[in-house]
Amino acid sequence: MSDARFVNQRMVGSSVIPDEAIPLVEGDGRFLNDIKLPGMYHVAFLRSQHAHARLIAVDASEARKLPGVIKVLTGQELLGKVDPFRSMPNRFSGGESIQHWLAVDKVRFCGEAICAVVAEDRATAEDAVDLIKVDYDPLPAVTDPRLGELDGAPLVHEACANNYLIKREYERGNVDEIFRDAHTVVKRKFKIGRKQALCLEGRGCVAGYRENTFTLTVWMSHQLPYVVRHYLAKHLRMAETDVRVIIPHTGGGFGQKASIYPEEFVCAHLALTLRRPVKWVEDRIENMVASTHARDQTIELELAADKDGHILAISSDIWVDVGAYSTYLWSAGMEPLQTAGLMPGPYRIGAMRYRTRGVATNKTPVGPYRAVGRPSASASLELLIDEMARKLKLDPVEVRLRNLISEEAMPYRSANNLVHDNVNYIPCLKLSVLKSDYDRQRAEQREALASGKLRGIGVACFAELTGLGTSTAVGPGTLLQPGRDAATLRLETSGVLTIAAALPSQGQRIMTAMRQVASDELGIKLEDITSITNDTATAPYGFGTFASRTAVFGSGAVIMAARELRKRLLAMAAFLLKVPVEDLTIVNSVIQTVDRSRSISLRDMAEKSYFSAKDIPQELNQGFEVTSFYDPKFGSFAAGAHVVVVDVDPKTGHVEIVRYVATEDVGTVINPAVVEGQIVGGIAQGIGEALLEELVYDDAGQPRTVTLADYLIPSALEIPRIELHHANTPSAALGGFKGCGEGSIIGALGAVACAISDALSRKGGDIHSFPATPERVLKGLGVLPGDA
């Protein structure tokens, strides 16, 4: 057998300890704020205090006089020199928003940048910010999308009638007719609050200037180095080759660092004009108001079913408060279009209709955050399925089993036109039911209720489209189809293999994953493989890390490049060893004949072919460097089913999670421990969404949650132990991989929401608005007045 994998222990599927974590655990990480360049200036921003106001005058004369202040830059000064952000064209656009990097004429949300101050040090820059006087003429603020869309409401942008940044209607099947004839119709309202990705490290950049090559080098805490490079060059009107983007260690991304924001672009402009490096690091208050928000939706959902609980059609009406600008690159369509379009989830739903809108308000723009749109789509449908189950006196598990897309029915095209294949929806649910001992949970629930305790059980199933190829737009309605990425494999002169790809990691250990995949393909020992993923000067073109795509794309490109590289390595070895190529295999970084009589190490072969190539034919010695692009064309569905048990304290409204069982199908697993970390981490964020996290604004558009003391994310005490199981089935992508970064947050919101609703329903209550804060729970129980 000449298959290396037959001899080697397979790396794919092993919990290899990631080398890339070593500096982080030793205090040797290099995060953005750790970077210092000689002669570096520091930048601070003056931000709007008003949600909506005309800028009458900006007087920076006092600030400019402060010793140590180098420059105060205003929006007026930038006009005509750089190109502002115009919303990405979207087929479903309501109107265009234009975002100046520093506000001109008008401010549209609290926290919008008005001036940039450059100083010798950060403290001086901040002192100078306080000395700038701004004369505002306040305008009425739009803070509620249901009011903002009415005729005569104040406009955030003149070009957006009724404040629509996005609007779409869709229908598949004769929905009216189905509803009219259906045995059962249930309806429900669902509200999800405004969220923050809350990366523990905020955004930031160091923009360096030098003469000649790479005039502009930008270190940025970001997920998409090449995208940043492309747009920096475009907006600063430079050649791309003059711009280099490097991503240092990054303290969380979750989509918040996948958009393009004004601050980093202002810094790049300042570095170029001052011809000095400048640094800006977001502080927490800035992060809360100037980095994108997420969710903030109201959904009215209806479902038609037959007498056995088979779903026949769904119809939804969706309002998303998308904030003041169309988030650059992705447009304002992310939440409104994905929530609506992905509503059917893992269920066999043949007809659907929706009306969805993204309404501009005077709040921080809404952008991508882990699992965009799907958590609320899924939770609203799961809650409604439970309501139908109650009405038809069916068990929530049974009704789901009747509606999930079965393996036999695949490939199955859903009413949203997505094709489900190679995905284990029903096995996931069955395993979670088994592992949670669901029937016993129900029995214990009855006992608990009988003894006056309020216990609820939630079951949620989800589908998560991962690793999207070029046939699916990640930004719906836009032309953005980031469906291909590249990896370069290079055997260095030392015989070490380097993998380069523009797929930065925020803890997903993509470097280790790609090394594992390459090791299996090439028979090279893991310790002889290194990886670099964060620098446009060394990585081939790639779109970056987001949308649960990185492992799929990185691994796929590595497999393709490895197959070509393997051919070249074996051909060279055959020449040097004077044996037929068919006799050769690679084991533990050595190329040898199957009978092991002849061999050459990769190190020796590299040295020879790079340094002593006199006798080697040129055609054979074309360098051991291969770049391959991988496009899976379509996406792969990952799946899961979560079962959650909660106890609700009817006096305080406090919710405690007492049991959490999750089963997921994430395809072929590369590194099980890493995958588990992704899933458990996603569940924790979903629990935060369900119970704690909410950005609050007052009616004037003033943010009320600007610190970590106001915006609560879960601590170790709110997160229970997660029992995780797998019902994996390989995808059609190369290697059988699926993405695993986002699915779990979807399941968590739905399962926890259903569990709370289940508990409250035992006392005749219910809850429609999340997070389920104690106050809302008490309202849901009728203890406090008001709607929940």
Binding site: S15, I17, P18, A21, I22, L24, V25, E26, G27, D28, G29, R30, F31, N33, D34, P67, A123, L198, C199, L200, E201, H249, T250, G251, G252, F254, D283, R284, Q506, G507, Q508, R509, A673, V674, E676, G677, V680, G681, G682, I683, A684, Q685, T707, L708, A709, I713, S715, A716, L717, I719, R721, I722
Partner: protein
Amino acid sequence: MAREQQIKLTVNGRSYEKTVPARLSLADFLRDHLHLTGTHLGCEHGVCGACTISMNGRSARSCLALAVQADGAEIVTIEGLRAEDGTRHPMQQLFLENFALQCGYCTPGFLITAIELLRDNPKPTEHEVREAISGNLCRCSGYQAIVDAILAASRLELA
């Protein structure tokens, strides 16, 4: 303009004498003046715990303290956890082996807190571990692997 003051202190076993502005935070002093950038800032508000260091044997939030308050103090940061020969502290090793970090931004604070916990309570229950680290926020891990790493460390003492 800023008033300055002289301080003397020990950090990771080395003594320093420095003149610092009165308004300089201890975190900024460690990061910018001593170049010990392993201590991270997540909120500068005393909530997230990323900046946790050990000061005179107790964990402390270096974002809330001023450098001048550390005059005479003995401080340990993440850079001081490894043995002189470079061997990782068992807690560092177990964080690594248990996959207890993803982005790693919160890790320095958790390590300091965890080491203090096991010093004061060598055999904590899972709940005691969760309680002890509840002042440190991690956005990536969901805490489970961190809890497991600390529990593994508590078992290690037995051997």
